[in-house]
């Protein structure tokens, strides 16, 4: 595992930019993919958004001033990309008198991993009912296991507000499951 600082030092060495960038992709590509996939559900969309995220990171690296850590910066780009994508899709669905949450639910149902596991599917369906920003917070805290301070940098929200949002999401999911099972 390579440290962020080492990667950035390498990136600043002449002729080693591409090598350093590949290290970033190797180190964070998969984690970023899963975070995006949790939000958009489909592989195709997650792949497009991950590539956009990493291309933006390549373009933004020369001006990266290390005011935040490299991986929180990458997570911020990925989260913004995913939330912008979802916002656009929700508007499109609304204009076509549809509901994008049901589109995401249908993708969940089509996922072979959930075949027969009703409880697992029900939990994820409840997560999908959360507002997108709250879902992103839940994903960063629960699945990515990031600290609130790190999520605060990614989401540009106070730690207190994040804790409240996560707690509310958690209780909402728990309550829904208790009612169902």
């Amino acid at each position: 595992m390579t440290d962020d600082r080492q990667i950035l030092e390498l990136y600043r060495e002449e002729g080693k930019e591409e090598y350093a960038y590949n290290l970033i992709v190797r180190e964070y590509g998969e984690r970023l993919y899963w975070h995006i996939r949790e939000l958009v559900c489909s592989h195709e969309d997650a792949n497009d958004l991950l590539q956009d995220t990493l291309i933006k990171a390549w373009k933004g690296l020369p001006s990266f001033r290390e005011e935040s850590r490299l991986y929180t910066w990458l997570y911020r780009i990925a989260t913004n990309e995913a939330l912008t994508f979802l916002k656009k899709k929700r508007v499109e669905s609304f204009l076509l008198l549809g509901n994008y949450t049901s589109v995401l639910e249908s993708r969940l149902k089509a996922e072979p991993a959930f075949n027969g596991d009703e409880l697992q599917l029900a939990v994820r369906r409840e997560i999908l009912k959360l507002p997108d920003k709250q879902r992103a917070i839940f994903s960063l805290r629960y699945f990515q296991e990031l600290k609130y301070e790190e999520i605060s940098q990614i989401m540009n929200t106070s730690v207190g507000a994040l804790k409240a949002s996560y707690h509310l999401a958690y209780q909402k999911i728990k309550k829904a499951l208790e009612e169902q099972f």
């Binding site: 590949n22 590509g29 592989h43 390549w58 072979p112 697992q120 939990v123 999911i173």
Partner: protein, 150 residues
Amino acid sequence: MKNRKEIEEVLQKKFPYKVPDGYFSALEDELAKKIKAKEDYENNSLLTKLKPAFAMVATFAIILGLGYGVMTATKNLGNRSYSAEAENVIGMENVLEEAVADYSLIETIEQIYYLEQADTLSSDMENLEEELINNYLLSELNLVTLLSFE
């Protein structure tokens, strides 16, 4: 679920979604290709080549626009000052007209009378001057002078 305490017991943290085989190992190469293609496109695109020309045209357009704006503004300012002066003149004329309009008929006749008197006085002055000149000339005449005329 009622018997279970927390979501952690149900919701697995491991990602259950399916991903195409070898997706993550191919990601680096795929990205490198995409970045290269994007950079090539940006460097060779017509828009990139025409960027300096667009910048120049935009600069000229801004200069022309500013020039036109300044000229229009100055022109309007000149018109405004002229019209202001014209308004002043009209205003003065109105004041005179109003002043004349304030005179009654009797006052007007009196004005005319004073003017005529003034004319009479000036004609008397002319007669008076003529007399003085004649007297002066006659008083200076003597015999020698009268003889010299002959």
